[in-house]
């Protein structure tokens, strides 16, 4: 059975999520999508399958306090698999007040979902006018940006250029790895949103190191990105043990962790992905013999002590 790509659309109330969804569905792309929405109404597309969901967030009994999943999604994705070959991808629209963690964790936790689908990317639509204020008063708005692989900075026509640059800097300080597109009425090419395989981390290689850490000194619960890197090979066992312990102990503060790592004695890249304390790591493609085998590890979260992490990371150098 082929695995089906899933794109998650998030964004605070009024940011333009439904506009983006309708844009994706009406564009001539020759593909059919199953669309999971929370309410019927604004979407009226004949050719696609629209499924009503209830965002039932369930706690797992696996001893992990922050491990929640979307029970409705597990059921819906299982049901959709019975319609073999009748669609090419799945779009999941979350409500404006949704924390994206349970959706992302569903793709880590549930074996059936993992076997049949892959999380292609989390796309977050941001209202350029209001986002800075939302980040002050809304936990969810912050999480939505922190979890994004792709961010549409929307309604840019309503914001002066210098203010827009500040907004983008603020977003970048939270999430150093997301691709940011400036849009008006969510006008983007579909291929900038779908089929990204963005969850597979290539973006980490594109992080501008200097961009990080310049905006750190905010209030304590600020979400920020920290990127650790080294040219020297890592001790694989020591590094994974450290990360597992770190995420078990501090998983509630660490929203997303991603890394491409070079282990001593290994020709292949080791890629890790985590959502809160759920982590998975696999060896992927071989390092190119001519490339600099630089390991990069990115944390997006709260209360991150960069210096402490760096020391612990350096202790894992082989």
């Amino acid at each position: 059975m082929n695995q089906i790509p899933v794109t998650v659309l998030t964004g605070y109330l009024g940011a333009g999520k439904t506009t983006l969804l309708n844009r994706i569905l009406t564009e001539e792309h020759g593909k059919k999508y199953a669309v999971v929405v929370n309410e019927f109404g604004e979407i009226g597309i004949d050719n696609d399958l629209v499924v009503n969901a209830d965002e039932e967030v369930f706690e797992m009994n696996n001893g992990c306090i922050c491990c929640t999943v979307r029970g409705d999604l597990i059921r819906i994705l299982g049901g959709l698999m019975k319609r073999q070959g009748s669609f090419d991808g799945i779009l999941i629209e979350t409500t404006g007040l949704a924390d994206p963690a349970p959706v992302a964790q569903t793709f880590f936790v549930d074996e059936d979902v993992r076997r049949r689908t892959w999380l292609d990317s989390i796309v977050t639509v941001v209202d350029a006018r209001h986002v800075v204020r939302r980040l002050e008063d809304s936990h969810e708005a912050l999480e939505q940006i922190a979890f994004a692989d792709v961010i549409l900075l929307n309604k840019t026509d309503l914001v002066p250029a210098d203010e827009l640059a500040q907004v983008e800097t603020r977003i970048r300080s939270i999430n150093a790895t997301a691709v940011i597109h400036r849009t008006q009425r969510c006008e983007v090419g579909i291929d900038t949103v779908l089929g990204r395989r963005a969850f597979d981390l290539d973006r980490i290689l594109a992080i501008e190191p200097d961009f990080l850490s310049e905006d750190d000194h905010e209030h304590d619960d600020a979400v920020k990105s920290v990127c650790l890197r080294t040219d020297r090979p890592l001790d694989g066992a020591r590094l994974t043990e450290w990360l597992q312990r770190l995420l078990v102990e501090r998983g509630q503060d660490f929203l997303r962790t991603k890394g491409i790592l070079s282990f001593a004695g290994q020709d292949k890249q080791y890629v890790i992905q985590a959502v809160h304390m759920l982590m998975e790591g696999t060896f992927t493609k071989p390092w190119n013999p001519n490339e600099n085998r630089e390991s990069r590890l990115v944390f997006i979260g709260r209360n991150i002590d960069e210096l402490e992490l760096r020391q612990q990371f350096d202790a894992c150098i082989a």
């Binding site: 499924v51 009503n52 209830d54 039932e56 797992m60 009994n61 059921r75 073999q84």
Partner: protein, 351 residues
């Protein structure tokens, strides 16, 4: 002892059965009167196959989307199906369809029928709706979460609904009531009620089963599965509960005092590749049909662990198994659309 699957091993399907592909995911199979077989498919069709005509099934387009659930209607002449088009439909073998109910946006699964009470029940999201045999709606029960599992008490007087946090027990013919709750934290995905009415068992998101003794609500946990348990089936008289979800057929003992508490389950049919996806206990003998994720299907005898190959691996995971009421016929369906039927009229319990 398990029968290894080797080149040249003849299966019952090869020897005493017929099979063909119906080109869609097989959601369920059931036998109707007179040996007629019905299959509900992932493209919304229902196929009827009689014993002679497996190569010329009759198809009825029932749902706009996928069939999600299938039971035999009370008269055993029709089938009831729920679909992802939010409709509950009764379909006759002549192709006539009657919509029983529809609630916009609500997938219809699971459904259950109780011959003892003459009632059918179907889940529309968080609501369980009850219907009389003529399709009249006779009650609804609302829940805080989506209902994943549904079963009548063997006598049909009560109905149990599994959901997040446990099970709600309702009296089928009482209009206003507070349900009795059996609580256990976590998401309960499916449910079965023992043939003697004493036990309720749910399959959970966490790769385990949870059971309750209905009389006093005593809990029992049945764990150790490598995957979610997608299928459970009671052996005759409820002596054992056969379950899918492991690399063998795990059968929990429910005879004797205390049910399975403190007892090890039987672990049958080892030696095949992959995980058991569907089980169906024989209606009369201590025999279980079990289908695997690689498509292999076996019969295994409870007390001897004697295994017979029903179907060789291939054609996708087994998704459906059903016995005829007399236990003479077995039907199976797979993910890639194979439907097979095997006649066991000349097969005896191996001695």
């Amino acid at each position: 002892m398990s029968l290894p699957v080797q080149q040249g091993t003849t299966s019952l399907l090869d020897r005493a059965g017929t099979g063909r592909t119906l080109d869609a995911y097989v959601v369920g199979v059931v036998f109707l009167k007179d040996g007629l077989l019905a299959a509900a498919l992932g493209d919304g069709r229902v196929a009827f196959v009689n014993s002679e005509s497996i190569n010329s099934p009759s198809f009825v387009s029932v749902h706009d989307g996928a069939c999600l659930s299938l039971v035999v209607d009370l008269g055993e002449q029709r089938v009831l199906t729920g679909g992802d088009d939010a409709r509950l439909v009764s379909t006759g073998t002549d192709g006539e369809t009657t919509e029983i109910a529809a609630i916009a946006g609500r997938w219809v699964e699971p459904i259950a029928a109780s011959r003892a009470s003459g009632l059918c029940a179907a889940v529309f999201g968080k609501t369980v709706s009850l219907f009389a045999q003529d399709g009249r709606a006779v009650g609804t029960f609302d829940h805080a979460n989506t209902v994943g599992g549904l079963a009548f008490h063997p006598k049909g007087r009560r109905i149990a609904a599994a959901h997040y946090g446990g099970v709600s027990l309702w009296w089928a013919k009482q209009s206003t009531q507070e349900p009795k709750r059996l609580s256990w934290s976590g998401s309960h995905l499916s449910l079965t009620w023992s043939p003697d009415g004493k036990y309720i068992v749910t399959a959970m998101q966490e790769n385990e089963l949870h059971g309750w003794r209905v009389s006093d609500g005593a809990d029992m946990r049945m764990s150790g599965y490598p995957t979610k348990v997608k299928s459970m089936s009671w052996l005759p008289k409820g002596r054992y509960l056969a379950t899918a979800g492991a690399e063998s057929v795990v059968c929990w003992p429910f005879h004797g005092k205390g049910g399975p508490v403190g007892k090890a389950p039987l672990d049958l049919g080892r030696g095949f590749e992959g995980v058991v996806t569907v089980v169906a206990a024989h209606p009369r003998h201590d025999v279980v049909a079990a289908g695997y994720e690689d498509g292999a299907t076996i019969l295994v005898q409870i007390d001897r662990d004697h295994t017979i190959l029903v179907k060789r691996p291939g054609k996708g995971a087994v998704t459906a198994l059903a016995w005829s009421a007399d236990g003479q016929h077995l039907a199976l369906g797979t993910e890639s659309g194979l439907v097979g039927r095997i006649s066991l009229s000349d097969w005896r319990t191996p001695s």
